[in-house]
Amino acid sequence: MTGFDLIAPHLPVLTVVIPLIAGFLTPIIGWIDRRLPWYWVMLAMFVVLLIAGNNLVTVINSGTIHYKLGGWDPPFGIEYVIDLLNGFVCLIIAFIAFMVSIYSKESVKKEVPGKTTPFYSVFLLLITGLMGMTITGDIFNFYVFLEISSLTAYALIAMGDRGDGVVASFNYLIMGTVAASFILLGIGYLYAVTGTLNMADMQNLLPGVYDSKVVLAALAFFMAGFSIKVGLFPLHAWLPDAYTHAPSTASALIAGLMTKVGVYAMIRFMFCVFTPAFVIDVNMTEILTWAAALAIIMGSVFAIAQSDIKRMLAYSSISQIGYILLGFGLVNVVGITGGLLHIMNHAFMKCALFLVAGAIFYKTDIRNIYQFKGLGKKMPVTTTVFLIAALSMIGVPGTVGFTSKWYLALGSIEANQWIFVAVILVSSLLNIVYFWRIFDNIWFGHPHEIENIKRDEAPLTMLIPMVILGILCVYFGFFSGDLIEHIFEPLAKTLLGLGGVP
């Protein structure tokens, strides 16, 4: 028996355990040498990435993985379940986290001077929380991980801009606590009527009590809680401040991942704890689609009004989260495929954009888009990545943004909801408005101002992850055919209970 055979059965849980242990070891590593934590985080994230990839392959080849924590049989013990949905979300988390960890080196050194070790420690714990939320099959365990990720996010945000960051973090904390409490309450209600905490078990038991008002109340609490967590308009008030004032690295991580995991959780609860039929029956999906449509439009409109690039991207996130939720709210295969696709696509695009914003801030101390004149000449690579990611946000064909938009619009037509098609298309126009201002500033300043600008590109550790994400934005714009056919469409069918993969 080799060492690997010994570890192999425990791979599912290692995605959570490795960042957890690594997070607590970081202070020791940092105490040895202050430069080491960066390598340490990269190493940890790389291992997690490999494991997450391996998990997904296992799921595709041999079906859902059930891991009994501590050997206790479900539904009594805590069970970790990795199916196609969370295997895929895990991989995205691991990948984005790895990219951000490479990027973090210079940025963290500049923006949180002297606190790099605690920053990395919290960074790893945030990943622990997100991973845990994703792969757990136990709803109370889910709550605990939710709070771990929230608390670490508060800490990361508070490390950002002096004053602003702390206030933003505090506001987020208050909203986050409300959200988490709602979710806790919902869990309590479900436990009261079913007597179990295991998601799969609960889904089997719940249909017997669907006529009970308690179940409906639980669903309402969950939806309200998650809506705050993902920043669904009009419960988004905490989000722009938090994204804007966090350190760039943390912004990229939080914007790229936290809301995605929130969305994942929402889907998990809607489709895998409750059943799609019930959720449709109580009109929750319809409410969700309309809220999402509102978010899409309002997020874009607010984004137009911003002059701080990070704040603009934050509002754009609100709008993009609307896209994802719209897809799921449509509850047809095409729409859900679009939603799933957009989880991945938006993670790539938004992460790339925040990384670019961070790189620009690192080099120039500028976040105001009206001061971006001449940047195209100063930082050609960074701004090209920005161009690609922004075009992708707009949904230009040949980029990932187009593929998900195509599915979402097609799903809306299939659901006979033409108004949402209009919403999606109008929102791409609004996206053009707020991104094109920046393009104009980056590349079309007054020529005489620009002539004397020297090339001064961000360091390589920042460039590499940005460029990789930029390339992926284009790569998956052309080559997501197989991915959709083999992963997303079967997954959408499974979520709707139409059969497909196990």
């Binding site: 075009l391 064909p397 593929t403 298309l425 094109w436 007054h446 959709i484």
Partner: protein, 496 residues
């Protein structure tokens, strides 16, 4: 009619050549000679690749190539048919001339950001050829949007507030068009499950309810705002702030023709001749574009800026092409399709002359051009050739297409459409003859010495003027545009 399909990578290469060139242009930005060398090489290779496909097409074959399955059932694919190669030949052939002209123009005016200029130009050309070779609506949409984005920096090239605001206008119109086109494609895909062009129109289109069909047609036509139908034409005159070679190639050939090309693809290859006739849409569309033909000519009359006058003339001429297609008689379609290359050669000549005037005489307004022919006789002669072609006077090419259009209208016994064509010919004369008169016969305000534009500019414009005459004298020479068009028309009408 059976059409043999041949699988070949050539169409992809033809599209990619200028993409690769654009990268090389960017890489050698510091060395103007090498940079422009790449542009030239790419232009020749591109034209060579396009023309190498012509014999097969003339034999009635079709070349296909699927690049990648972007989404399930939505491949990025190329299909070269007679209509596609018609547009591809036009744009890639003229690129050679415009490259030479651009070099002369940009260097004479010592323009800034020339690397960006040539880079975007190469990408725009790729997109134009990509549009020509698209096998389905999605591929077409991909290049359509790419064309919009890559031409924006060219329109906003001057970076003055005026240029930027014109660029914004350009972008606003074309992006709204793009969104509308996307919507239409979604609807087509929803009802038929495919977006692939077919000679008889996409199968399943007839299942769409009549009201939806009409709305779909309207959104498609909004999507073709690049074709500058009134009232969606305002971007074109605004885009005239761009450097003249851009106006010449893009706003007389590549961009607007891409719009018209898309419109024709939609009318003939998505809806199909039968459906157009059956649903009665053709007649409304014919009247609609007739309004544009007349109104745009009147607008052109009112312009003093030469480039703007030419722009409005383009608006009017583009609608000829669509008019030809919606007549849905073989003659009408022939006239429409043939007008794509014919108008391109004549209009590019006119624009290059206007550019030469800007560079050499520093004059943009017609009212300032008294006696300018004494200074630039060759340029103004070329201009006269182009103008005569526009009006439809033999032997310059324009009369051929007008003849076919008139035949088409006559076959339908539509007095209104015949009247529209004749009135518009008169209006064309009304806005071109004053320019010629001013240039040749008015006394200059002060003594003018003979001074022509640099040779890199003069040679292309003379050549295009000569070609405009050649295609008028021998329109039916073997392998010329008429041959290609006849095959395309036979394809869509099902005739031989």
């Amino acid at each position: 009619m059976m059409v043999t399909e041949i699988n070949s990578i050539t169409p992809l290469l033809a599209v990619l050549v200028s993409m690769i060139a654009s990268v090389l242009i960017l890489a050698s930005g510091k060395y103007p000679n090498i940079r422009e060398g790449w542009t030239f090489v790419a232009a020749f290779i591109k034209f060579g690749l396009v023309i190498s496909m012509l014999p097969l097409i003339l034999n009635g074959k079709v070349i296909t190539y699927t690049v990648v399955e972007m989404l399930p059932n939505l491949p990025i694919a190329f299909k070269v048919d007679a209509f596609g190669i018609l547009f591809a030949i036009t744009s890639s052939f003229l690129w050679i001339f415009v490259t030479s002209y651009s070099i002369g123009y940009m260097r004479s005016l010592k323009e800034h950001a020339q690397t960006r200029y040539f880079f975007c130009f190469a990408i725009a050309l790729s997109s134009a050829v990509g549009i020509a070779f698209s096998a389905n609506l999605i591929t077409l949409f991909l290049f359509y949007e790419l064309l919009t984005i890559s031409t924006y920096p060219l329109v906003a090239h001057n970076e003055t507030p005026e240029a930027i605001s014109s660029g914004r206008k350009y972008l606003t119109y074309l992006m709204i068009a793009g969104v509308s086109l996307l919507f239409s494609i979604l609807v087509v895909y929803h009802y038929t499950g495919t977006t692939e062009f077919s000679f008889a129109g996409i199968a399943g289109m007839e299942t769409i309810p009549q009201t939806t069909l009409i709305i779909l047609f309207i959104t498609f036509m909004i999507g073709c705002a690049k074709a500058a139908f009134m009232p969606l034409h305002a971007w074109l005159p605004a885009a005239m702030v761009a450097p003249t070679p851009v106006s010449a190639l893009l706003h007389a050939v590549a961009v607007v023709k891409a719009g018209v090309f898309t419109a024709l693809r939609v009318i003939l290859y998505v809806f199909g001749v039968d459906l157009m006739q059956y649903s009665g849409i053709w007649l409304y569309m014919a009247y609609f574009v007739s309004i544009t033909i007349i109104l745009a000519s009147i607008y052109a009359l009112m312009q003093d800026n030469l480039k703007k006058r030419l722009a409005y003339s383009t608006v009017s001429q583009l609608s000829y092409i669509v008019l030809g297609a919606v007549l849905i008689t073989p003659h009408g379609i022939t006239g429409g399709m043939l007008h794509i290359p014919y108008h391109a050669f004549m209009k590019i000549t006119l624009f290059m002359c206007a550019g030469a005037l800007i560079v050499t005489a520093k004059k943009e307004k017609i009212s300032e051009m008294n006696g300018i022919a004494r200074q630039m006789p060759i340029t103004m002669l070329a201009f006269t050739v182009g103008a005569l072609g526009m009006i439809g006077m033999p032997p310059v090419g324009g009369y051929v297409t007008k003849w076919f259009l008139l035949l088409g209208a006559a076959e339908l016994h539509s007095m209104i459409l015949i009247a529209v064509l004749l009135v518009s010919a008169v209006l064309n004369a009304a806005y071109f003859f004053p320019v010629i008169y001013v240039a040749f016969f008015k006394k200059p305000d002060h003594e003018l010495k003979y001074k022509e534009a640099p040779l890199t500019m003069l040679v292309p414009l003379v050549l295009t003027a000569i070609i405009s005459i050649v295609i008028g004298i021998w329109p039916d020479a073997p392998g010329m545009f008429l041959d290609i068009v006849e095959i395309a028309v036979a394809n869509v009408t099902g005739g031989v």
